[in-house]
């Protein structure tokens, strides 16, 4: 399978707010993601796991180019051969929703409260339809013909959009989709809104779908429903999935490969069965030990703040098997037999 997305040496830093905390954090620059490299093949599901604040969502927003202005992004994000970081906003707008799409963390916040569900599900068609029209406007001679055609076909087009929305809603388990078109997000449960959001993100059948903590805040029944929906969508649409989550059980059941992040960098990449059965990095082992089935054994200490990372290996202050070298040198991510680990003590 061909590589669909290649992220190489990605560095994302944020420059602190000078007006806040004048004395202590003046001009503070935080590197949220450091020299991060990974790739996703066509139809593959790659999961990015790690604790809150380790930089997972920053990676998703960097790919979508949705980071705030105070961020600085370096490196290469190649999607279908084109570097997204070199694209201008117009080019990115054409890509977002159509070729790369994202399911945001909180469905109730990601949906617009003042528009109906039907309106929000039709929006991707409208936006990307406009792209086509804009391109047509540039060809002045064809402009009038295009408009006449659009008028004639307007009704037919609306019907096509409606039938596509209905079909998409049926796919995510709504047996009577017409009923929900006039609903507003506040009328619906978290689980329903989650499914509307998935529908909106996948309705244009993107090559790459990014799901940013889609299971966060959902109870166990909703999580297994979501799992089935993502599996079905993948089977039907055959798109690649970048799954960002801290829910390890969810990841294990869905991913083809898993990348574990700690303090802004990837520390281990492996297939789910080898990662969960024989984790190599001490942090991955600690993370798995804190699962209920392993008796909730916690990792001592806490993740370092990204503004003051320790020298050497970033995990060394919490590592039970650290050596002198771990405190002085920063380990590289070493690859061996389709598995990569950032630890001096491996292999």
């Amino acid at each position: 399978m061909n590589t669909l997305l290649e992220v190489k040496d990605l560095v994302v830093s944020f420059h602190g707010n000078e007006t806040e905390n004048k004395n202590e954090d003046k001009n503070e620059s935080v590197t949220a993601v450091s020299c991060l490299s990974f790739s996703i093949r066509e139809k593959e599901t790659l999961a990015l796991v790690g604790e809150s604040g380790c930089g997972k969502s920053v990676v998703a927003h960097a790919i979508m180019r949705l980071l705030p202005q105070e961020s600085r992004v370096k490196g290469v994000i190649k999607f279908r051969g084109k570097n997204l970081l070199e694209m201008n906003e117009k080019e990115m707008a054409k890509l977002r929703g159509k070729e790369i799409s994202i399911i945001f963390q909180n469905p109730s916040l990601a949906l617009n409260p003042v528009y109906s569900i039907g309106h929000q599900l039709a929006e991707p068609f409208k936006i990307h339809g406009q792209e086509k029209r804009r391109a047509a406007e540039e060809r002045k001679e064809e402009k009038r013909k295009e408009k006449r055609k659009e008028k004639g076909k307007k009704k037919e087009k609306e019907n096509t959009i409606l039938s596509k929305i209905v079909e998409a809603l049926k796919r995510v388990g709504f047996s009577n989709p017409h009923e929900y078109m006039g609903y507003y997000p506040s009328w619906c449960s978290g689980g329903m809104n989650q499914r509307f959001l998935i529908t909106a993100s996948t309705i244009l059948d993107p090559f790459l779908l990014i799901a940013d903590e889609p299971s966060k805040g959902l109870d166990r029944d909703r999580v297994s429903e979501l799992e089935n929906e993502l599996k079905n969508l993948k089977e039907m649409n055959e798109n690649a999935l970048l799954l960002i989550s801290h829910d390890l059980g969810f990841v294990r059941r869905l991913a083809d490969r898993v990348a574990v992040m700690y303090a802004g960098e990837i520390i281990e990449i492996a297939g789910p069965s080898s990662l969960f059965e024989s984790p190599h990095h001490p942090y991955t082992r600690g993370l798995l030990n804190s699962l209920p089935e392993n008796g909730f054994v916690p990792i001592p200490g806490s993740s370092p703040p990204l503004s003051s990372l320790p020298a050497g290996c970033r995990f060394h202050p919490r590592c039970p098997i650290k050596e002198k070298r771990c405190m002085q040198e920063h380990p590289e991510l070493k690859e061996n037999n389709g598995r990569a680990v950032r630890c001096f003590l491996w292999p």
């Binding site: 809150s52 109870d219 029944d221 909703r222 801290h246 390890l248 209920p292 909730f296 054994v297 993740s303």
Partner: protein, 230 residues
């Protein structure tokens, strides 16, 4: 010595045109000092409502909450204030438990002021509390947005401990946290319970968390409480 819920029912709605909805009916259980009662069940079954009723933050439609034999309903203002101090509540999302515009130190000292603790003793009490919850004193100068979810949940527990409660209602205390942080908080709760002898009502939809923490377990489903570990 116990905190009891006796035949507690909760109904919502005005009763006009048949719009009353019964959430749960005649639920009874008992919290003992130094032990945990785990309350589990699906979302929307009224677990949090029951927790709020036990903590005295909401009134039941019928039934009684008794602290060491004294019914909550008939308490005078001073008794009710003492009840609220002795029965505390810890919420799911630690970011909602702190004022975002105040430094942690200010949020903590508010509690100590309410306790009429002399200014000279406040710092010492805060230091001891930080030692118990395992955080450095640097966190005091931070705003909630500058701390992680795990650190904030520890501080939420620490602030409650300053009040020296007898019982704590823990409403999904780890469901907003990562697995590794969840394990840390659960161990901290166990340690505090062993040291202080506090009784917990632990509310969670996560069966593994409930089974790990609780001596007795009840399942709230379809308006009824079924005891599944006694």
């Amino acid at each position: 010595m116990a905190l009891k819920a006796e035949n507690v029912s909760k109904t919502y709605g005005s009763g006009l045109l048949g719009s009353r909805k019964c959430i749960f009916r005649e639920v009874s259980f008992e919290l003992e000092p130094g032990k945990t009662f785990g309350l589990m069940g699906p979302s929307g079954e009224g677990k949090s409502t029951l927790g709020r009723i036990v903590a005295g933050l909401e009134s039941p439609t019928s039934g009684t909450i008794l602290l060491n034999g004294n019914p909550l309903l008939g308490m005078k203002k001073a008794e009710y204030t003492a009840f609220r101090r002795r029965v505390q509540m810890m919420f799911q999302d630690p970011t909602d438990s702190f004022n975002p515009r105040k430094r942690i130190e200010q949020s903590i000292s508010e509690v100590l002021k309410l306790l009429n603790s002399p200014e000279s003793k406040r710092l010492q009490s805060t230091k001891e509390m930080l030692k118990t919850i395992g955080l450095p004193k640097e966190v005091l100068a931070r705003y909630p947005s500058q701390l992680s979810g795990g650190q904030l949940q520890r501080l939420a527990l620490g602030r409650i401990l300053l009040l020296e409660p007898e019982y704590i209602v823990l409403d999904e205390p780890t469901s907003a946290l990562d697995v590794s942080v969840q394990a840390q908080i659960l161990h901290l709760l166990k340690k505090v319970q062993a040291e202080e002898g506090i009784g917990y009502l632990l509310i969670s939809h996560d069966e593994a968390v409930i089974r790990f923490m609780s001596e007795r377990i009840g399942m709230l489903k379809k308006g009824k409480l079924d005891m599944i570990r006694t």
